[in-house]
């Protein structure tokens, strides 16, 4: 076993020095592989430089002997570059599996060069080196996949955050009247954001009336109703009267059958009705001009 390990690490070091020595040739060949050629389209030199960076990283990893460790420090230098390459391929419509295949495609040319190093490719040390190189290239493939996955997860997390912020604007409808048009699913996280932004608006706009419009909420179940009632209660504590509007006929029937008592909540069918109510309560009257052209006298 110990002998094996010693042979393995010797092979790994050999692979490392081979990559360092033949850096230029490997980079030249890789620059013609689809993975580099299609990403770095501006000039071939750019593709060669990018390939060199990857060869350097592999060489650094091989020298430390951590051929199968995707967390090996050597990869750190190229993670950003690999991430950009993966993103570029993904934008061109390639799936993760196809990108992985392209990474695997890099192995052929480098293995060929490696075999050429040995007078007898069937000798045990040559086989060890080719095996070590295969391991290392497999690890590179994993690193690329991991980079692709974490980029996807980051994107999803960022979009979720954006959705939370974008989807809950507070609109000032009139002096002292604010409204939140709710759209989509009202889960606990969303309703927390809604409550916070509504209460902030009540303070900053000195609003006496706050309207929650649920026209865009497809399903009102007990949890959504509970969130609504809590928001209404909180607004009331701040001294604002809260009106829920946009209750569609189907939603109204469902709420009744569910047995939810919205008796404590002021509701109106539409946003316009809710606004009219709020204006009327403030003594504001909106009426059309008495006659057209009367102002011309």
């Amino acid at each position: 076993m110990e002998q094996d390990a010693a042979a393995d690490s010797a092979a790994a070091r050999l692979v490392g020095s081979f990559l360092e020595r033949r850096r230029e040739q490997i980079a030249q060949r890789w620059a013609d592989e689809p993975l580099f050629r299609t990403v770095f389209t501006v000039s071939r030199d750019e593709a060669v430089e990018a390939s060199k960076a990857v060869v350097d990283a592999l060489s650094a990893v091989a020298v430390t002997g951590r051929l199968e460790d995707i967390e090996a420090p050597g990869f750190r230098a190229v993670r950003d570059q690999l991430g950009r390459m993966v993103a570029s391929r993904a934008r061109s419509g390639f799936t993760s599996a196809q990108i992985a295949d392209e990474v695997a495609g890099l192995r052929g040319s480098v293995t060929e060069l490696m075999r050429g190093e040995f007078p007898d490719p069937a000798a045990p040390d040559a086989k060890d080196c080719v095996l070590s190189l295969a391991l290392l290239m497999g690890t590179l493939r994993l690193v690329v996949m991991e980079t692709a996955l974490s980029a996807g997860e980051e994107l999803i997390a960022r979009q979720r955050q954006q959705l939370l912020e974008v989807a809950t604007p507070v609109i000032k409808l009139w002096e002292g009247v604010v409204a939140v048009p709710l759209i989509g699913t009202l889960d606990s996280a969303r309703s927390q954001v809604v409550m916070e932004s509504l209460l902030n608006a009540v303070v900053s706009e000195q609003a006496r009336y706050a309207i929650l419009d649920i026209t865009g909420v497809p399903t009102v179940d007990t949890l959504v109703a509970q969130h609504l009632m809590k928001t209404v209660a909180a607004a009331r504590l701040m001294g604002a009267e809260c009106i829920v509007s946009g209750i569609r006929p189907a939603i109204a029937q469902t709420i009744v059958h569910l047995g939810i008592d919205l008796g404590t909540v002021l509701t109106h069918a539409g946003l316009a009705d809710a606004l009219a109510y709020a204006l009327e309560r403030q003594g504001i009257e909106v009426s059309p001009r008495a006659t057209a052209g009367a102002g011309r006298l």
């Binding site: 497809p218 399903t219 007990t222 509970q226 189907a250 469902t254 569910l258 047995g259 939810i260």
Partner: protein, 149 residues
């Protein structure tokens, strides 16, 4: 005698996260619309599914939903089965009471869901899990039971 023949197309959806709940609502709404349910019935069915799926997630620790389109003669319907392997419910009668809650909710989920659909069946064994089956019919009429009349 009419026979309830479940179509072969039973769809199974996982219930393991809040995102799954949204997916459940969407699929139930879509299936109900395809079967010809009216807007009010769709909304009722989706709301009931939302309540029960949340129970499966919160109290059952996750599980799955089976969506089965049904046909009895000319009448079409939809059966939803919520399965979990959670702790189960010890006192079903109490759980079905309006206002009874263990989760800090309104306590209307189970009883409310029952009022929203035509058929409601509840099976729970402490320690083994809970199965809730609901069905709704496009005409709004429950299916004739075998041997009835």
């Amino acid at each position: 005698m009419m026979q309830v023949s479940p179509d072969t197309a039973t769809t199974s959806l996982p219930i393991g996260s809040d995102a799954d709940l949204a997916w459940v609502r969407q699929r139930v709404r879509q299936t109900a619309a395809e079967l010809g349910f009216g807007l009010v019935q769709q909304t009722k069915l989706v709301t009931a599914a939302s309540e029960l799926a949340r129970n499966t997630l919160v109290h059952g620790g996750g599980g799955h939903l089976e969506i089965t389109p049904l046909t009895t003669g000319p009448n079409r319907g939809l059966r939803l089965t919520f399965l979990d392997t959670g702790p189960g419910i010890r006192d079903i009668e109490q759980a079905m009471t309006d206002g009874f809650t263990t989760g800090g909710g309104l306590g209307l989920g189970l009883s409310g869901a029952k009022r929203l659909v035509n058929e409601f069946d509840f099976d729970s064994r402490p320690g083994e899990g809970t199965t809730v089956t609901i069905a709704a019919w496009v005409s709004g009429l429950p299916s004739p039971r075998a041997g009835a009349g």
